[in-house]
Amino acid sequence: MITKITDTCISLEDGTETFTLLEKPVFPHFHDNVTKRPYISSYYEAGESIWAYCQASLETLADLCHDDPCFGCYAMIFRRLFPLLLSSGQAKNVISYGLPADHGACQVFQNFMSFLQEGNALTALPQSIFSFVSLNAHTGHAFLYYLDAFPSPAAVCDAICKVKPGGILILYTIKETLPAELTALCARAEKDSFSACTLYTLTVNEAIMEYAHENGTEAFLLCRSAEITKRANDLQPLLQALLAGAALPDDARLIAAAILQQTEEILLSVYDFLENDELPIRANNLKEAILNYSVGINGSYDLTAYLEKLTQASETFFTAIQKEFS
């Protein structure tokens, strides 16, 4: 893939395929330029025009990233950012996730943004789920999200929540298929595709924001907390009955263990957000104590020690659950 730059057009070329990135605006439309820099060469002012800087930027991008399989994505991102950055004299905040801060594409975007306006910022987030937590909602004019780095629907929704209404989320990928859970969301996006590179650009409106709130990490955590609490509530009377030696169906212990196994897995799915990171193993310990007690019953062994461990594990687990989720 190469970048072809002429006086009037910048495009990507791959074999016989061409993708037009930018065209130099014709004179009558130059009033669209609301930035302090001249959009095109001016008859009356000296200095570098935006168009000239665009040409230079895309040339630099090609120099720095032509070997990068995402090169086409970066070029198309530039195309999508371009109108947004020129849309007003307001300083723009662009957030990027999945691209290291010292990456050539980041440098090119940042240089171009600084050229347009000193206050423009490109913030490259480190690859961690906590990156999003540290950001306020609705603070970005654009969010660039590399899907292949972290193809999590919840994280994509979190990213949407960080974008201002009317701003854009750009999802980019070099994979052929989208994660199934993102298909519906991406169907609402504008799609740019060239060679192996694909971009989905979503303009954040009310409907998109609502979808993001419903499917983001916060909603996920609330839902998971409710599931854990429900299971703990189901389990507690069952365990009390077991410990009291009440007559229960034969499969009661296995059901209790199954509930704990589910609880353990749910706890592990929210592991990074737990205050007490030993909760999953507490669930496992209790499951083990129930199974050992079952072994004792099946084998008609002395149950004293098994009941003692079951009581201990049960107390430890429910105390920890209560502390974490109440």
């Binding site: 296995l254 263990a257 199954a258 196994q261 589910q262 353990e264 897995e265 592990l268 592991y271 990171d277 030993e278 999953p280 193993i281 496992n284 083990e288 199974l291 050992n292 079952s294 072994v295 099946n298 084998g299 062994y301 020690a305 098994y306």
Partner: protein
């Protein structure tokens, strides 16, 4: 109850002696508890006389001309429909192809990995290497041998890891039935490869010397196992430095005859472990425990599990603390009431939590839970 066609494939070819170790004995206990058949699939390393102890198990010898694991993958490809439960032993790269091959052919089958690992080894695993991560991911049930390691793995892997300790298969130990505390003597016993770096045998030897003047009664130290030339020299040096102690310290050399070894366990009141690198509880611990020996151990990963957090044994945490180990040893040997009481406590504890027949029953239930999970998803 469902009965399973079981298969155990080691990462490296099995040796005869390993037929009596956890990698084979636990699958065998499972086979006896809920198996329809058990195949031990390996390239041959010679004769397998111990197979006679494993009635009903079938040894499948892989062809000589292929490397062990390549042949094992081929075997699984050909026989996956005859394997409902596949036992793997060790989180080893050798399994990276075998595990996904089995799961691809038998998504309904159960892949059980017994880690046989210590914390150092688990901390060094290449979890970012995708084929290795996929191998771990493909395992339906993973178990480790110490609670300390289990806690670490939950934090590191964020997936369920069961605690199934190295245990005892009682039918292999009929000699434990008639053990009586009254027949025991003041013997501190250790069993292992003496002089091996992992076994840290010098710690026990010199801690015994430090404890010796403080012991209320006369105690003998019996060290059973093959001896490295270095340790032989150390022992001779020890005898020269402490002539009064020399008659009380006995090195037996390797004892291949199990009955003779059991006679030592029967007679010893105290079993001493000085290792510095055990993952789970070593086989010799289980053997000593079923014979009612009180245990003193260094702070290996499974120390708390072996002693029920210090209830049925003593822990000297620091691997290089000769004084500390000697102090614990002295306290243990001087507490005759504890030793007598603990004879029963230890045997009960090991029976309740280390009996492979009971552990097999727990594994059977874990497999049932997997089946429930699959049905509900």
């Amino acid at each position: 109850m469902n009965r399973y066609k079981m298969c155990m494939i080691p990462a490296l070819p099995l040796e005869n002696v390993q037929l009596m170790k956890d990698r084979v004995v636990f699958p065998y206990a499972c086979f006896r508890a809920f198996g329809e058949s058990l195949r031990l699939v390996t390239k041959s390393t010679g004769n397998y006389p111990y197979l006679s102890y494993l009635e009903g198990a079938q040894l499948v010898t892989l062809p000589e001309e292929q490397p062990h694991m390549e042949a094992a993958v081929h075997y699984v490809s050909e026989h996956a429909d005859e394997i409902d439960l596949l036992f793997l032993f060790g989180a080893r790269g050798e399994y990276m192809e075998l595990a996904p091959t089995y799961k691809a052919l038998r998504p309904d089958g159960i892949l059980y990995l017994k880690l046989d690992a210590n914390i150092d080894w688990m901390s060094a695993l290449p979890l970012f290497h995708k084929p290795f991560a996929d191998f771990l991911q493909s395992c339906d049930i993973i178990s480790c041998e110490s609670r300390l390691l289990q806690t670490l793995l939950y934090k590191k892997w964020q997936r369920p890891v069961e605690y199934i300790p190295n245990g005892v298969y009682y039918p292999l130990y009929p000699a434990t039935d008639d053990v009586r505390y009254e027949e025991k003597e003041n013997i501190i016993l250790t069993v292992g490869r003496l002089g091996d770096v992992q076994k840290n045998s010098l710690l026990l030897l010199y801690a015994y010397a430090l404890a010796f003047p403080n012991l209320k009664e006369s105690w003998e130290l019996v060290m059973v196992g093959s001896i490295t030339p270095e340790f032989q020299a150390d022992y001779e040096d020890f005898c020269k430095r402490f002539p009064p102690l020399a008659p009380h310290v006995r090195l037996t050399g390797n004892i291949a005859d199990k009955q003779e070894l059991y006679r030592y366990y029967k007679k010893a009141k105290v079993f001493a472990l000085s290792s510095c690198g055990e993952g789970g509880s070593p086989n010799v611990f289980s053997e000593a425990a079923v014979f009612g020996c009180s245990v003193i151990t260094t702070g290996v990963d499974a120390a708390a599990d072996m002693t029920d957090n210090g209830r049925v044994g003593r822990i000297s945490p620091d691997l290089e603390d000769f004084d500390g180990y000697a102090k614990e040893l002295t306290a243990l040997c001087n507490d005759a009431d504890y030793l007598a009481r603990n004879f029963h406590e230890m045997r009960t504890y090991i029976k309740e939590y280390f009996d492979y027949e009971r552990l097999a029953d727990r594994l059977r239930m874990l497999i049932e839970l997997q089946a429930l999970k699959r049905r509900s998803s």
